[in-house]
């Protein structure tokens, strides 16, 4: 039994993450303040855009990789539904090679559901290297850095970019990543110079370094992990993978808590037994 212990634990974990998906259980989530603030920031941009002659873009920074897409994809899908429902034009940019193509797939999927079109609703600036330098150069002269979109069309010929003058026309930066260090340059350069609101999506384990930035007002909102995605889905009224995944995550968390408690109770019992037998 002892030798087979890891196998039983693996089996229990396997069942706890697969059964809820098959049973399609979903839960209502209490909305946390950081997620509500993210939602409010998008609403503010939509409201401001209605009063402007030309709309400001939202910039979706796609810095996540396949490893973290189980948590990040549902967040991005919910946010894209929100952008499209409020007619907010957006651009995709990434500093991780896989990010812009992953974001493009999601945008195409949401656009198909809502009847939107690439070029008119959004465009993809593609993958860029050297994050710090690129962001600083984009602030000085945007068109030197971004010359064409992901499909090779000159950027000034993409309809959604027609009125775009530079980074001052970005009304919101939405940074999605599994690594907190990729958020920092947006705060240091874009928020510091232009006061552009920044919202952030990250994995559950990367939430802790984000709180100081939220409290100091350097970012305006964030959603963490699958739980953040489920809450945002609720806010936009589009339940999806986030809500579905919460059941699996709930059981997995309960299993881990149960295992920690069981191991410590066992340890405590054997300690007491040893002490009782001591002469």
């Amino acid at each position: 039994m002892r030798r087979n212990q890891p196998r039983w634990i693996y089996l229990a974990m396997g069942l706890s993450v697969t059964v809820p998906f098959l049973a399609r259980i979903s839960f209502q989530m209490p909305i946390s303040k950081p997620v509500q603030r993210t939602f409010d920031q998008v609403e503010t941009l939509a409201r401001d855009n209605r009063q402007r002659d030309h709309k400001k873009l939202a910039l979706l920074v796609a810095d996540w990789e396949p490893a973290t897409m189980a948590e990040i994809n549902p967040q991005v899908i919910a946010l894209l539904h929100h952008f499209m429902s409020r007619e907010i034009p957006f651009a995709i940019l990434g500093f991780r090679p896989t990010g812009p193509s992953l974001a493009q797939e999601l945008a195409e999927e949401v656009a198909r559901q809502r009847g939107e079109e690439y070029g008119k609703t959004w465009c993809n600036w593609g993958y860029k290297t050297q994050m710090d330098t690129t962001i600083q150069s984009m602030l000085s002269d945007f068109y030197t850095v971004v010359r064409e979109d992901i499909k090779g069309t000159p950027i000034d010929r993409v309809p959604v970019m027609a009125d775009f003058r530079g980074m001052e026309d970005v009304g919101l930066v939405a940074e999605f990543t599994g690594s907190s260090c990729l958020l920092q340059p947006w705060v240091e350069f874009v928020h510091a110079e232009l006061r552009t609101p920044i919202v952030h999506g990250c994995t559950g384990v990367m939430e802790s370094p984000v709180y100081p930035l939220l409290s100091s007002g350097q970012i305006q909102g964030f959603m963490g992990g699958l739980s953040g995605a489920a809450q945002y889905e609720q806010l936009v009224g589009k339940p999806g993978k986030g809500a579905e995944g919460m059941a699996a995550q709930s059981l997995a968390h309960l299993l881990v808590i149960g295992l920690i408690l069981a191991a410590n109770i066992k340890e405590g019992a054997s300690f007491l037994r040893r002490r009782a037998w001591r002469p």
Binding site: F27, P212, M246, Q249, I260, N264
Partner: protein
């Protein structure tokens, strides 16, 4: 000679960005630096592209040698080289002459293999975490006890069932609230301490690199 060349270029590049940030944009020098910034940025990207090329050459040399000398683990090196060249070939083929075959081969390698393998490796973490929780998380000290209680509260606060437990136990607070308090008060204080320490250290390190005092940057061995 090499030492002086590296020190000179490091110092000038660092000084450029410092002056560009510090000097007001309205002054002549400030304006000139600001206008030059995108071009300096482009130059840095070109240098970085060379670094990627050098990296590829380095990887190839290391693994080709391993394969030719049949060193331990050489089949892994074959797999690495084959994957690297296949991915590069199909991506370049697809970009410059996009026939359907190139697109499909690229998608097969990237979407159907690379993405799925990465996801699979990452998802294994859940199993290791569960096993480690059982085998390694022992409360033997007060600190470990505090850590366990905090971890359990944060985990319960992350899931919707947590608040139902709180209601069942008739607790005066929900686990969601407790988690938010832990994250935005206790965790934030700790994070700020770490960040401040790291940034002060980063500043000191930056000055050492800029002045050419850091021997690692100059490709010299420390004594």
């Amino acid at each position: 000679m090499r030492r002086w060349v590296i020190t000179f270029f490091t110092f000038v590049s660092g000084l450029f960005y410092i002056l560009e940030f510090v000097l007001p944009g309205q002054t002549g020098t400030g304006q000139a630096l600001r206008a030059a910034k995108p071009h300096v940025g482009e130059a840095i990207m070109v240098i970085a592209a060379f670094a990627v090329g050098l990296g590829v050459i380095g990887v190839c040399r290391h693994h080709l040698r391993k394969v030719m000398l049949r060193q331990k683990g050489w089949p892994n090196s074959v797999a690495l080289l084959a994957s690297m060249f296949a991915m590069a070939t199909f991506k370049i083929w697809e970009k410059y002459d996009p026939p359907e075959v190139a697109q499909r081969l690229h998608d097969l390698l990237f979407l159907d293999m690379y993405n799925q393998l990465t996801v699979t490796v990452f998802s294994l973490l859940a199993f290791y975490v569960a096993s480690a929780a059982y085998r390694a998380f022992r409360v033997r000290t007060v600190e470990a006890g505090l850590m366990m209680v905090t971890a359990i509260v944060v985990m319960l606060g992350q899931i919707p069932l947590g608040d139902r437990f709180a209601a069942l136990l008739r607790l005066p607070w929900t686990f969601t609230e407790a988690r938010l308090w832990i994250m935005s008060v206790i965790n934030m204080a700790g994070q700020r301490v770490i960040l401040l320490g790291a940034y002060v250290g980063g500043l000191a390190f930056g000055i050492r690199v800029l002045l050419g005092l850091n021997k690692d940057t100059l490709l010299e061995k420390n004594p």
